[in-house]
Amino acid sequence: MQSKIDKFTIPIGPQHPALKEPGHFEFSVDGEIVTDASVRLGYVHRGIEKGTEGRNWVQSLYLLERICGICSHVHATAYCLGVEKLAGVEVPPRAQAIRVLVAELERVHSHMLWLGVAAHEAGFDTLFMYSWRDRETVMNLLEGITGNRVNYSANVLGGVKCDISAEQDEAIRQGVDFLEERTRHYLEVVTSDMMFLRRTRGVATTPKAQARELGLIGPTGRASGISHDVRVDAPYAAYDIYPVKLITATAGDLEARFIVRINELFESYRVIRQILDTLPEGELTVRMPRRIKEGETVSRVEAPRGELFYFIKSNGTDTPERIKVRTPTLPNMASVLVLAIGHQLADIPMILTGIDPCFSCNDRMVVVKDSGGDNRAMTWEALRQYGIEYYR
């Protein structure tokens, strides 16, 4: 006799040991195999985009930096580049180089943090402890340059606030040498440890076509062979002077994501050394007007997790009219729900961590209005006009 097995749903979160940040997931399981998945986000939605409209351009910088504590510098960089473009201000080359230097140090810290957390989710706590111990080296460097371990505020509108002295130069070189040696060891571990490979090889495999369909970006997409990196495609700040090599893999599984991120670390070390070797002399800041010229602009940068997108609109006053942020976790998050289906429940934390999720970046508000069957195809210009009329 065969009885009909009811669907069993496992709720996870918002508080759960496998989640460092709040998010609510529901997995339907058949035995140990996941058959359906859904997510509810928004626990850390704070209303930052609206908050910027009540603050002036300088105050907004510090608010936007606190969208995410892990990648605060890229948020500030994206915002500063956009506002400087609107104001028509040319930032000195030394400031741009220091921006890139701090961004790459931040990428090192973010990837090492991810390496540890991902290893922890796989039950490989030794690697977690080692990578976090070594991560303290780069935290020291960031603290030495900017004065804070997290949320460094290296950027100001019109430049950077911190300079690189000769001692710091030496300290960064030493730190990077140490980290490079350790990273080589980690690359060996994640590609040769059989226990670990059982958790990563062939898990959550995303072929290139599927990755494109899901809209994967950043290292997650690059592990599936999507050749997209804002630093390469549309160099900003000083990336045209210090070009970055695009790192991709083809396998698309969790192992490939480890390899891509670790290889990006080597690339970051190389760029950091190159910047230190050829740091241009000059001023750190230029004068910024208090009121920014009317206009709108788009600014894109490569965050450690993928493409970060800022839309900035000014109405000529000292406060922004509208700032829209699109962070890399949101497009990647959808892939978790699709890839989870058919996997063991025990693989779910690894699949979730595989995209390097950042919920605090993620929780933007989007109002989806039911059009009531009124489906129209619009050109960009018509859509824009419609939007202007709608919000008038």
Partner: protein
């Protein structure tokens, strides 16, 4: 006489409980709207350089096993109910540590429409650790101060501004 013996027994038991609690407090961490900055610093306190486990502090997954609730971030409207639920699931006696400027007062997010303010708008808070984010040393200092106060019985009453939960009747000991 009977009563006296009872009191003596109770005192000895309380001393043993406090001794055990101070030497191995289990903590649970909840992010109610933080930017991650404090969360990664809390995680850093568990890792080899800072190593909070030398004070017996262990990060625990379930609120039902925890003595200390470490809160980060301002309280968002979405997370408020969950924060209260987690607090109510914890067994008495329970203590709350607010970590970071946002957890203290709402910090940089004051005035944002989805933010209710600091943790003390919702829960009774025993210890505050300021900073944006606080250094791992500061987080450890906050926890150690809490444990010392617990040890020598100088724990002040928890601070509540607009509590969403029943406040423990007496600090440290269940009613």
């Amino acid at each position: 006489m009977q009563n006296n013996q009872g009191n003596l027994w109770q005192n000895v038991m309380d001393q043993v409980k406090t001794w055990a609690r101070v030497n191995s407090p289990w903590a649970i961490h909840f992010n109610s709207g933080s930017c991650n900055g404090c969360d990664i610093e809390i995680l850093a306190t568990l890792t080899p350089r800072y190593d909070m486990e030398r004070f017996g502090v262990k990060l625990q997954g379930s609120p039902r096993h925890a003595d200390i609730l470490i809160c980060t971030g301002p309280v968002t409207r979405q997370a408020r109910e969950r924060l209260i639920r987690i607090y109510e699931q914890m067994p008495e006696p329970k203590f709350v540590v607010a970590v970071g400027s946002c957890a203290l007062s709402g910090g940089a997010f004051q005035g944002c429409y989805n933010v209710e303010g600091g943790i003390d708008q919702v829960l009774p808070v025993n210890a505050y650790v300021p900073g944006c984010p606080p250094r791992p040393e500061a987080i450890i200092d906050g926890l150690v101060k809490l444990l010392q106060a617990l040890d020598n019985g100088t724990m002040p009453e928890p601070i509540t501004l607009k509590p969403g939960v029943a406040v423990p009747s007496k600090s440290g000991n269940p009613a």
